[in-house]
Symmetry: C2
Subunit: 389 residues, 2 copies
């Protein structure tokens, strides 16, 4: 067995010294008003599409993230689907997404009958590399009538979805510049980055429209849930409309004016969300404290880096990550085996999207950095409560 694998386990153990219990990767914590609010929805019978918690959750979330409007939906995947639909992604368009992301980003593009076009990530943010994207666009793209086209496929490149990996913000200033130059709409996949800031501004507030997730493994949870964020009131109204079956208000008549979705978040889930959101500042503190402890112990372990926020950003440290040096990529699975068999849950990053059968033939730039990162990233236990102890 390699010495580095053992050193890594020992280092994690210094921060998480609970040898006898299984330590999950990420566990939610319900120590606030969760039961109070949820109980209220049951007692009032307003558990479903009617009730005050959805409105409140949307208001609270907009306030927290500093956007004009938030629209609560059934999950982050639905939020991405709606975001793409609302910026006008159409059949046969291409949409840039990182190859290093969770499957939902790519699936949402498919739901629009559009094609994901994969871009590379950079080591410092684990997200879209705006410089590399810029040179790639110079080579393959042409702008006609304020729209960007792929010269090689002839298809329109309508949008890009940067994703803030594990809570680490993408280099937004550079990316925004590229998007403006090439007339590409910006949709942020902020599913993992509630509480993460780029130069003091909350992630998810840069894009024309953005998506968040409140799945059980996220920094806060609504059971299942997500949200659409935007500063554009018109887009927010449209988001609300098409996520609630596009029903036109009427005292009793059922008129729907377009093909809509049932993507609304139920009130019982929003109640959980309101209570969780109250605790997010606390979760963020604990997660910072946990990340700080990890960064300290890993200073003493050569061959691996504990992923820290860049100096211009503040990460929520949703999932803590180790990045092995290139020389050590061969021992990733050994570390995963060793830790998982010793009560410490760890996992690799997602398989790259263009390695999956259904996306194998999609267009892609050179993604050598993502390919290297895929072999070297290991997520380690990250529950906020671990930062408390």
């Amino acid at each position: 067995m390699s010495q580095l694998a053992q050193e890594i386990i020992s280092a994690i153990r210094k921060v998480v010294p609970y040898e006898d219990t299984f330590v999950p990767l990420h566990e939610p914590s319900f120590q606030g008003n969760e039961w109070k609010y949820v109980k209220e929805t049951i007692d009032s019978t307003f558990v479903s599409s009617v009730g005050k918690y959805v409105d409140r959750f949307e208001k609270d979330l907009a306030e927290f993230t500093g956007v004009k409007r938030a629209v609560a939906v059934v999950n982050g995947t639905a939020a991405l689907h709606v975001a793409l639909t609302l910026v006008g992604v159409k059949k046969n368009d291409e949409v840039f997404i990182p190859s290093l992301t969770f499957i939902a980003t790519a699936n949402a593009v498919s739901y629009c009958q559009a094609t994901p076009h994969f871009v590379d990530s950079e080591e410092s943010t684990l997200g879209v590399d705006p410089y590399k994207l810029k040179s790639y666009l110079k080579e393959i793209a042409i702008v006609k009538n304020d729209e960007c086209f792929n010269k090689q496929t002839g298809r329109r490149i309508k949008a890009i979805i940067p994703m803030h990996t594990f809570g680490h913000p993408v280099d937004m200033d550079q990316l925004i510049e590229v998007c403006q130059q090439y007339h590409i709409d910006l949709i942020e996949d902020a599913a993992e980055s509630l509480g993460s800031y780029y130069k003091g501004q909350h992630t998810g507030s840069f894009g024309k429209i953005s998506a968040m997730s409140f799945n059980g493994n996220k920094i806060m949870t609504t059971g299942g849930g997500g949200a659409i964020l935007t500063n554009d009131e018109r887009l927010a109204d449209m988001a609300k409309h098409i996520t609630t079956t596009a029903k036109v208000p009427h005292k009793w008549e059922y008129v729907h004016d377009q093909v809509g979705f049932n993507y609304r978040m139920p009130n019982i889930n929003a109640a959980l969300g309101c209570a969780q959101l109250e605790k997010v500042p606390d979760f963020l503190n604990k997660k910072r404290s946990l990340a700080h402890k990890y960064s300290e112990v890993f200073k003493g372990v050569p061959g691996v880096t504990f992923k820290q926020e860049t100096d211009y950003s503040q990460s929520n440290y949703w999932l803590n990550a180790l990045v092995l040096d290139e020389a050590n990529e061969g021992i990733r699975d050994e570390i995963l085996n060793l830790s998982n068999s010793s009560n410490l849950m760890t996992r690799p990053v997602w398989m790259l999207m263009n390695h999956l059968p259904m996306f194998r033939n999609c267009p892609s730039m050179d993604i050598s950095c993502a390919e290297s990162l895929e072999k070297r990233i290991i997520n380690i236990p990250s529950s906020s409560e671990l930062g408390d102890k």
Copy 2:
């Protein structure tokens, strides 16, 4: 003001004599283990995709409805979308649906890039008229290689979605015969018919695959939720797979083998569902008692019929409905106005699908019965608790 409108309000008032409080159309009731089970998900932190209530709800639901397998999903709309996908509805196919249905049935067809083809309903069941369908098919359809084609449009007619309106079962024997003769797959929209039986067999167990809804206005609720029912184990496995992002089991690797969906029901919603399902027999009794009272008082009101189950079926009486005689269709809105302004919530049936802008140009048979019913149906207060008092 018409005398009939006043007589109708008086008749409803005999059954629902609570003049001072607003009587909603349908209200859920939480008097069982709802608190207990929901609280347990919060206390255990298993509110999301992991947890025992989803499995239990699926098992309990399959048992209750008598199908081999049930797969819990995020809502009834998602269940319909998955059902259509799994029977193999493809882009440019046609799918028969009643024009008299809730928008979700038609939207689900659109999600598959297929075209709804509208069929008429019959007065006795308020659902698909199998005899009329049969003569229509004789005229427009041709079977080639065990597949049905529309001779007029050239498109394949892949499936039909009968919907059990307000809980009243469609005439299944006749419909199944037509489907077999023409090689059309049967998908039941059983969103409204949990607890409804056709010749002793539960609705939703006849189709190749069926959809249920547990929205807040249904006979039981999970906040938001739905289920896929099927007797085909292979289809059930596929349903589970594509509603959970098509992830292939692996100890840590993220491999997905097709474009899937995030349509899973969260554990917190399934906990509510388990408790509600325990109460369904009780809800059914109360609803039968309420329907019985209505049927008695409306015997004395000529010009209108209280909708009762046919002699070969058992309805759950989810939403009670009055059907005005044709001569009285002109006073529907007067009745709606009068009742809603006197604390009794009532509503008309949905606007017919082919009267909505996005479906206006879809193919349709003569739908004169549905057109007449649209002008004559009025839903009246139906909460199960009203049957108790």
